[in-house]
């Protein structure tokens, strides 16, 4: 990163963000420092910084803040000029700097769960809030899926803060007609709930939903989805043209700025850069030897370090984690109803929602497609102890993946948010053993 660029953003981050945004400011500065040594993919990095700045400025600019989970796109919020605040910033965003750990400890001390029971993607928010270090949003929104931890965490936060809250039910069934789990009413059900949610937002924010702006947002969303689909296709190339964390950032952008011009720009940039690599026949990892599937989140407290270590030590590229596996295709949106359909489809197929909201077959199919489409050599399930719904699918899935594709799988438990549970060395030890004794 050029010094001038660094100084520009250092300056932009200066000054008071207010007590409630101190942690967001900490993340901003942490990200800026992490990026200092980076000389590639600068544009996406800049977009990340802008997202943090935008949250920090929301109050001053008079925008209401809506807190939402990691598995829902913010299109409606941007349409209504609301500032989305992804709840998991307090875990995913703080973990690489170990700044979430004091809040986990505080949650333990006040009796709000423990690690194997309640997911640490959610708990730091409660700890931070109780210590006055988390902003109280103007509105809360969450889904009934993919997990109980998320649902109960929002309920507890709602109870503690009294913030107006909306919940959307996400059913178990599939919207694809060729699925054995198909239900013909599911799309209408989500569309109806989405429209009710819009009515609720109108009421709570005292504004009229702007249909034109919504359609424009959905067009932009479609465009960004298109670039991500092209990027996903490019990742099938051998050698893999993008570094291991790239897909994850696509998810991050779609979850924070999906539907905006910035999201279009940044996803196009990533697609273009990746296409250039393919054209030139260059792999992101020198002399690529192993292609790893990672059908769960990455280990957040590691930041990019674990994937970097895999790349450097074993010439192993991790194609993308479960969040980066964003598979919402662009839809035909020539009229308003199709926009709602596209919104509903995105809700049902969002990263981790599509694969985890229903029967285990959704997850198995996702893993099988992943292995076959991306020509994987092995699959690593770094399961979070508290993630009951996912952890309880890993064994069956690994057996079926082995049976049907012949590739080996490693399952291990850890806490992606807390380096003290299973430390880096132990994680690396398990992976090394697997790669050296089974994969190679």
């Amino acid at each position: 990163m050029e010094e001038e660029f660094y100084q520009k953003y250092k300056k932009l981050g200066r000054g008071s963000w207010g007590k409630e945004f101190l942690l967001i400011k900490g993340m901003y500065n942490g990200m800026l420092n992490l990026m200092k040594s980076q000389d590639q993919f600068i544009e996406p990095m800049e977009t990340i910084l802008k997202i943090f700045l935008s949250i920090g400025k929301a109050r001053k600019e008079g925008r209401s803040i809506i807190m939402h989970p990691f598995n829902y796109g913010p299109e409606l919020f941007h349409t209504m000029n609301l500032q989305p605040l992804m709840q998991e910033l307090f875990s995913v965003g703080l973990a690489p700097f170990h700044m979430n750990e004091p809040y986990l400890d505080f949650s333990n001390n006040v009796g709000y769960g423990d690690n194997p029971t309640l997911c640490n993607a959610s708990r730091p928010l409660i700890g931070a809030f109780l210590q006055g270090a988390a902003p109280v949003p103007d509105l809360l929104f969450f889904l009934s899926t993919p997990c109980n931890s998320l649902s109960i965490n929002y309920q507890v936060f709602e109870s503690l803060t009294g913030v107006p809250t909306y919940n959307m039910d996400i059913p178990y069934w599939a919207c694809e007609q060729d699925s054995e789990f198909y239900d013909e009413t599911i799309m209408d059900y989500i569309i109806t709930q989405s429209k009710e949610f819009i009515e609720w937002l109108e009421k709570e924010t005292n504004q009229k939903f702007n249909i034109e702006k919504f359609q424009q947002t959905m067009l932009r969303l479609n465009e960004a989805r298109g670039y991500i689909m092209e990027f996903n296709e490019l990742l099938k190339t051998i050698p893999c043209p993008a570094p291991s964390m790239t897909g994850f950032w696509n998810w991050f952008f779609m979850t924070n700025i999906g539907g905006t011009a910035d999201a279009v720009e940044v996803t196009k940039y990533t697609r273009d850069k990746t296409a250039e690599m393919v054209k030139e026949g260059i792999g992101a990892v020198e002399d690529e030897k192993i292609r790893i599937g990672w059908p769960y989140t990455h280990v957040f407290f590691e930041g990019p370090n674990l994937f970097n270590w895999l790349e450097e030590t074993y010439n192993a590229v991790t194609i993308m984690d479960i969040l980066g596996y964003y598979q919402v295709r662009p839809q035909n949106i020539t009229n308003l109803e199709e926009c709602y359909e596209s919104l509903a489809k995105g809700t049902l197929e969002y990263s981790m929602i599509g694969s985890c909201r229903g029967p285990v077959e959704y997850y198995i199919d996702y893993c099988l497609d992943y292995v076959r489409d991306y020509k994987l050599d092995c699959i690593i399930f770094p399961m979070q102890y508290a993630c009951k719904h996912a952890y309880a699918m890993a064994r069956i899935t690994s057996e079926i993946v082995r049976e049907e594709t012949g590739i080996p799988a490693l399952i291990f438990g850890c806490d992606p948010y807390d380096s003290r549970e299973v430390p880096s060395e132990a994680i690396r030890g398990k992976i090394s053993e697997f790669i050296e004794q089974v994969v190679l």
Binding site: G111, Y112, G113, D114, P116, T117, L118, C119, F142, L143, S144, T145, C147, N148, S149, S151, I152, N153, Y154, Q155, V156, E158, S159, T165, N167, M168, D169, I170, P171, Y172, W173, D183, T185, Y189, T192, Q193, E196, P359, V360, M383, Y385, A386, K388, H389, Y391, A392, M393, A394, R395, I396, G413
Partner: protein, 373 residues
Amino acid sequence: MTILEKFYQSIPLENPWIESWKKEGKKVLGTFCSYIPDEIIYAADILPIRIRAKGCAETPMGDAYLTQTACSFTRCCLEMANRKQYNFLDGMISCNSCDQIRRLFDNIRFKAPPPFHHFLSVPGNVNETTIDWFKHELTKFKETLEENFSVDISDNKLRDAIKIYNKSRTLLKELYMLRKNTAPPISGTDMMNILLTNVSIPKEQFNELLSQQLQEIDGKEGISDYKARIMLAGSMLDDPDYVKIIEELGGLVVTDAYCLGPRYFWDNVDETKNPMDALANYYMSRVSCPRMAGRQSNRVEHIVDLIKEFNVDGVILQRMKFCALWWGEIFIIRKKLKELNIPFLDLEREYVMSGVGAMKTRVQGFMEVLEAR
């Protein structure tokens, strides 16, 4: 044999009533959650029973597939299924009660598939749209039962089933009302046996037994030699021995808030409505479990109301280890109880009774606190 002793016969998973039912060539379906309307199954002349895992001693299969951080109830169930201990069932019905039940069902389907299975997608919140969806789910469920078991579930049969189930609810509530007395006629341990029988035998026979029980206790002297009136609230609990420990230490459990208790029967299904509408409304709108978003304050109020109505001295909050929903819920209940200055004890437990010594020590300490007030 006293009536109470008859209730005790329903404790094993396979009980004499089920044996008689099966001898008539009739089917039995196991269910995993109180959000599954038993009335629809009963209207098909099939006996619905609540699946339990009594007698499970170790869980290697559950540990391997569900992992050791899944709750011990689900691990025990997978173990029992794998050991063919549910083979007397003609099928299993599950729903997305919680993540662990949802994945238990997946693992059972793959590793020990029952002859018939069905899943209900129960909405995670309550409003007109989600109630409509649930009705759609119930209709699919009814049609699946009809097709699979070659039965006709007419509206009249549904109405009859609703009536019989409402009768159970009314009788149970009647018995609960008597527990408000200074000298309640029944212990919490015996009540737990009755609640288990309620979900383990045909409803007509249950209603008959419970009517006899109510007659038997009518006018009799109740229990007065207790130290404190206790409410038991929290995760799914189906072990009378757990309640017995509390009562042996001087507490008398006079009411409760868990899924086999008042939440299951406090109100009746509307008999005047279209039966599927009535069932969808009832199951969605009753006092919920923590899986239901947007209803937390309603659930806490329900507990506070019961505390007042039953003149409770202290609350024992029990939660199954690794249950995310109940940990979050209890965090909020505790806050409310503190505000109201109501003493409580927070106990973590496993499905299979363990750590009895530690539990006794804590309950004993709690009784002393209550006595000193």
